[in-house]
Each structure stands twice: as structure tokens, then as C-alpha cells.
Amino acid sequence: MTAVDQPADGFVVTDGPLRSGCDQKADEALCIGGVSFGSRLILGTGGAASLEALEASLVASGTEMATVALRRVDPSSQGSLLGVLARTGVRLLPNTAGCFTARDAVLTARAAQEAFETDWIKLEVIGDDKTLLPDAVELLDAAEQLVDDGFVVLAYTNDDPVLARRLEDLGCAAVMPLGSPIGSGAGIRNPYNLAIITDAASVPVVLDAGIGTASDAALAMELGCDAVLLATSVTRAREPVLMAEAMRRGVEAGWLARRAGRIPRRRYADASSPTEGMPQWG
């Protein structure tokens, strides 16, 4: 018997095929909805202390896409957040944060389409205020309507492999399972399920919600995610700009490690030094 068998105490890091980029030949970039991204980190904008702090974090993170909410605005004072995104060259991904029903989410997506002239939407339909967990029934309903309407839907979902498959089957451009509840910083609570989702998916999988620190982001990528979306862990870090850079490096490290292929876990040691040529000391 070899000691190489996957032990019961460690989850298997996925070794499935890498999903190809927009250029099917040799593109290592992330590809969502036909658009290529050099960065595999997507930032949320919630929780930043100021627009200046947000802008500095966006730059430090290296992100190329950030998600924004749609809310009632004072007509005389809107536009500064959009200015930050325009200045930094970061693509705007509107979201349906705060929606509890498919109806509200679809209306919010349509309003975002009008406001920002984009068909892209981060679809988020939550079940209650305390957990902010996705409401699977409303989520599927909204996803179906929006895909039918021609939206590029990036669906925030539970870490449920069957639900993720259903969203993909409906035509979502990306599935975005949570690691743990929004803003909790509790990391990836079910790496086994996440690995099942990333193994099975043929659309990009974006870990969305629950990231606490850079090692969580690296783990998400090692588990086969194509990208990571996070907000609170950066915006509410003691030093947001420093954490933004840490997240950039964490995502890159996890992505590189996954492509490199980790060694199997063993219960016992496996000497890396040769046993031949050992001197006799007497």
C-alpha cells in the first residue's frame, strides 16, 4: 500500500481541466460573457470609508471590474462613484443587492441597464436580512427571466452544486457561489462543495462572499474557482489599500498553485533527500 491515498482529513484540491479563456487557443485570461479579463479579482464597492479610499483600493487590487448597487439618488449629487470607475478604467458591474424577490431583481436589472448602458448584471436575490443567503427559488426565476431578456447574468448563489448546475443550464454567464455569508469573513465553509461546483461547471465560477483574508482568496482559486469577488474584507480592513494588494497576490498565488499542481497529501513523511551515498560515521 502506498501512503499517497487521499486522506480523510484533507479535502481534495481539484485537478480538473482549466476552463479556457476567450481565445480558445492559448488564452490564460478569465473570460466571462465573451469579455477577457487580465485580473481574476472582482471588487465590490460596499463599505468603503470614502470614494478616495475606494479608488486607492481599486488601483492596488489590480481589478478590472467592480460591482455597484442601484439606489435612489439625489439627482444633484450623483455621478462621483461612476467617475471613480471611469478614472480607474474599471468595468462597472451593476448588482441587485438588497432584492428579496425575482420581480424586484428583474426590475433593478432593467433600471441598471438603462442607467449604465450595460446588459451585465450581478444577480443577487436574498432570503432574509440576518444571513443574506440566496433565495434559490427566486434566484432561478429571476435568472431565467433575465437570460431570456438577453442579460449577461452573473448569479450569486449558495455553495450548492445542483443549484449551480441549474443556473448554468439556464444560461448564466458565471456562477458565483458563496464561501460563507456576505460580510462574515468566515472564509470557505464548504470546500468540498465548492470543489464539486468547480469540477462540474463549464462557465466561470467566481467565489463571491465570505472572504476574510488573502489565504481565503488563494484557497478559492486552488479549489478551482476562476475568479474571486470580495468587498468587505478590503473596504473594512484596517488598511484597505494594503489588503487590496494582499488579495491581488492571494488570487494570483492560488491561480498559479492550481496550475502548477499540488503534491498529494500523505500521512507520513516522504524524504526528498537521497538515501544513497550516506556516509558511515564509524
Partner: protein, 66 residues
Amino acid sequence: MRLVLNGAERTVDGAATVAGLASSLGLGASGVAVAVNGEVVARSAWPATSLHEGDRVEVLGAMQGG
């Protein structure tokens, strides 16, 4: 025109249409969406969409979140 604008009653002059309202409010050429009585009004339809006394109008734009 007396409207319920973003949840608050307000009288706006020159708001016979959504385009008129947008002009009165000084809405920008992009970055903002308008919904009337729960329906999003496409920007291209603003000039032809009439407003009536008591209509519920939402003016929505980007905010940090999500």
C-alpha cells in the same frame, strides 16, 4: 406637477413628461434610470412618456454596495 419622487411628495415644474422631469431635475445624460409606477422607462421613451398627478417616480443611480 405633484409627484411622489423617491418616496417623498414633491411638486416639480415642467414635468409633463419624463424628459421634462429629467430636465427640471438636472439629470445627467447617463448614469441614472427612471421608473414610473413600478415600471422602468427606457431613456429613448422619456420624451413620449407622460406623467400624471400623484405618479410614483423613482430616480435611481449608482451607489457603493454589493
